[in-house]
């Protein structure tokens, strides 16, 4: 940095670069101390006694690999559900009259600010056998027996979608706000039916937001712990539950660290692949 700055002394670009570096330094230092260092320590712990034994344990026996796949599968379901619910919602927020849009935003933000644990317990109150939903269904005579809405995968997915929806809505909403409405008007003026306008103009223009939101939701879903622990009834296995088991019950921190590293690696690979696809599309 300094060598380069020396060569192009006085040039505006170099000074700007220095300024950028200075501005980024506090955050970078914080990240290094609170994120990079612990992560490296975790890596070291996973290589206890300089051996790959813990990684062998992760990849042999089939348990952890299957749970990883199961975790990914649930994360995909949650991401798709967030997209289906979130895309129209984001469109509403971006296009509705000011008052309605503000009200809608509040509805998205308020739960976002509420503790994860509180929201998960709220779902338990709603989805239980004697919960609000089942009581209503029974009272209305729609079902004879309470429906199993909780203590299974359905409960976990419902809880996770609720928690993660804002992470999808906000990026999409931000992109939708910037879309030039005249483009759609022009397409309509030229005789394109609505679905063509959506498919050929609106969707491609908002796709970066969808990708950003979807990635965010997917990655966060991979590491979910509280919601599957409380709403899954022990039947829904996600990788974070197994990591907790190794940390808290087995005191086998080496194996737990190895599982963490595999999860981090999977996320990095996924992220890199997505970036590549996005770039090749743009080109």
């Amino acid at each position: 940095m300094t060598a380069r700055a020396g060569r192009t002394r006085g040039s505006r670009a170099a000074r700007l670069r220095l300024l950028h570096a200075a501005l980024a330094a506090p955050a970078a230092l914080l990240l290094a101390a609170l994120f990079a260092y612990p992560l490296l320590d975790l890596l070291r712990l996973s290589l206890e006694h300089g051996s790959l034994a813990h990684y062998e344990a992760v990849f042999s026996g089939g348990l952890y690999v299957r749970v990883l796949w199961n975790t990914a599968r649930i994360a995909v379901i949650v991401t798709v559900a967030c997209a289906v619910l979130g895309y129209p919602l984001a469109h509403f927020l971006a296009t509705a009259p000011r008052g309605w849009a503000l009200f809608g935003l509040l509805c998205v933000v308020l739960p976002f600010w509420t503790s994860l644990l509180v929201r998960t317990y709220a779902w338990m109150v709603l989805l239980g056998n004697n919960g609000v939903v089942n009581k209503l269904l029974l009272a209305a005579g729609i079902v004879a027996e309470p429906l199993p809405l909780m203590h299974n995968e359905l409960g976990v997915v419902v809880g996770m979608v609720h928690v993660l929806l804002p992470y999808f809505v906000f990026p999409v909403y931000a992109v939708m706000l910037r879309v030039d409405r005249d483009l759609m008007a022009a397409a309509e003026g030229l005789g394109a039916p609505l679905w063509q306008v959506v498919r050929r103009i609106y969707l491609p223009l908002t796709l970066p937001g969808v990708v950003a939101g979807g990635t965010l939701v997917f990655i966060l879903a991979l590491g979910f712990f509280i919601t599957p622990a409380l709403l899954g009834g022990g039947k829904v296995m996600m990788i974070a539950l197994l990591i907790d088991q190794q940390v808290a019950q087995m005191l086998n921190w080496g194996l737990a660290s190895a599982l963490c590293m595999v999860l981090v690696a999977a996320i990095l690979v996924f992220h890199a692949a997505l970036k590549r696809i996005a770039r090749s599309r743009a080109a």
Partner: protein
């Protein structure tokens, strides 16, 4: 967090420490040259909730009165946190609760200070625990069957063979999401006698568990869950820790306990390695060993103290609900925590795989 977690490294003393300890032993023989300075406060860590309340009533206030050291209580009893504290050399707890097989694990990992038997009087304790080097035998707890009296009008299952009989005893069921106890229950249900459970035949246990699995509505993880599940009507029968059900029974909830086939485990208190006021920690455990104080705790929670003089001080109405009452104890079996400490990893791996299929 520093690097080394093995007991060997934690156990090594500096030469000065060794000399100091030797001198002290030489002077008074008990390991304490003179009463060390009193701290203002001490931290006792336990499983929290009703347990902390009962601990305060039985032990904390009395300790504060006798020694003028204020007790701060924290929770939960988290062995992973204990390990992290000892490894980082920043031990916040003076005394902590450790349940069941975690005690053996902590002892093996070298996470505990030895008990000073010259301060803590275990002479009136059962022979099996008298000689404990690191684990103060606070109590026993039992994982038993709790059930809704109002929902199971046609009677409740007595013993695990009947619990497995879903035709004769219909109802929603909950078991713990952990192999401990459940493997034993399965073997008992399959006709293995109580004294032939160990070493556990994993194949046989899991075969038997296959039968009950479709009929388990919730696999609980947290100790507070079973009581909650019963009260909310989520399930009609659940295994759970006897003290949690005891609380419900005492509050006249429509819940009852079946002791047949209960799994009894030792529940310990211990001093973390490197605790700041070891002498006073020993003093605290000494107080916890007194029968009269134990009785107060037992009246609150039904977890008996192990001092054999306890029965002299306990309220009569509590006796039938005690794990160790002559009525209840023979119905239960003692969980082999050493087998579990040796085989936990294998059992849990297999359990997780078993949970995954289908």
């Amino acid at each position: 967090m520093t690097g080394n977690f093995s007991g060997r490294d934690l156990g090594s003393l500096t030469r000065r420490q060794l000399l100091g300890a030797g001198l002290a032993v030489g002077v008074v023989g008990t390991g304490w040259a003179a009463e060390p300075e009193k701290p203002k406060t001490m931290v006792v860590n336990s499983s929290g909730g009703v347990v902390n309340k009962a601990l305060r009533k039985a032990f904390f206030t009395e300790f504060e009165r006798r020694h003028g050291i204020r007790i701060i209580d924290t929770s939960p009893a988290d062995t992973a946190k204990l390990r992290a504290m000892v490894a980082s050399g920043n031990v916040e707890w003076d005394v902590t609760e450790i349940a069941g097989q975690d005690g053996v694990l902590a002892e093996r990992l070298g996470l505990l200070e030895p008990l000073d038997h010259s301060i803590i009087d275990l002479s009136r304790f059962p022979d099996a625990v008298k000689g404990n080097k690191y684990l103060f035998p606070r109590s026993v707890y039992s994982t038993v069957l709790g059930y809704r009296k109002d929902k199971l009008k046609a009677g409740h299952p007595v013993g695990w063979a009947q619990f497995w009989d879903v035709k004769k005893f219909p109802g929603r069921r909950s078991l713990r999401n952990h192999p401990v106890d459940n493997l034993e229950y399965a073997l008992l249900a399959d006709g293995v006698p109580k004294d032939k459970l160990y070493p556990i035949d994993l194949d046989r246990a899991f075969r038997k568990l296959d039968e009950i699995r479709p009929h388990i509505n919730v696999w609980w993880t947290a100790g507070a869950q079973p009581a909650q599940l019963l009260i909310d009507g989520e399930v009609d029968m659940a295994t759970g820790w006897s003290g949690r059900f005891y609380d419900l029974v005492m509050k006249d909830a429509p819940v009852a306990i079946e002791w047949e086939g209960g799994a009894v485990k030792e529940s310990d208190f211990a001093i973390p390695k490197g605790a700041k006021n070891v002498y006073w920690s020993q003093k605290f455990l000494a107080l916890m060993a007194e029968a009269e104080r134990q009785a107060i705790y037992t009246n609150e929670l039904g977890y008996p103290g192990l001092n054999l003089d306890l029965v002299k001080f306990v309220e009569p109405k509590v006796l039938p609900l005690l794990i160790t009452s002559p009525e209840n104890l023979p119905k239960q079996f003692f969980n082999d925590i050493v087998w579990w400490a040796d085989n936990q990893q294998v059992a849990i791996d297999r359990w997780n795989k078993w949970m995954l299929k289908g």
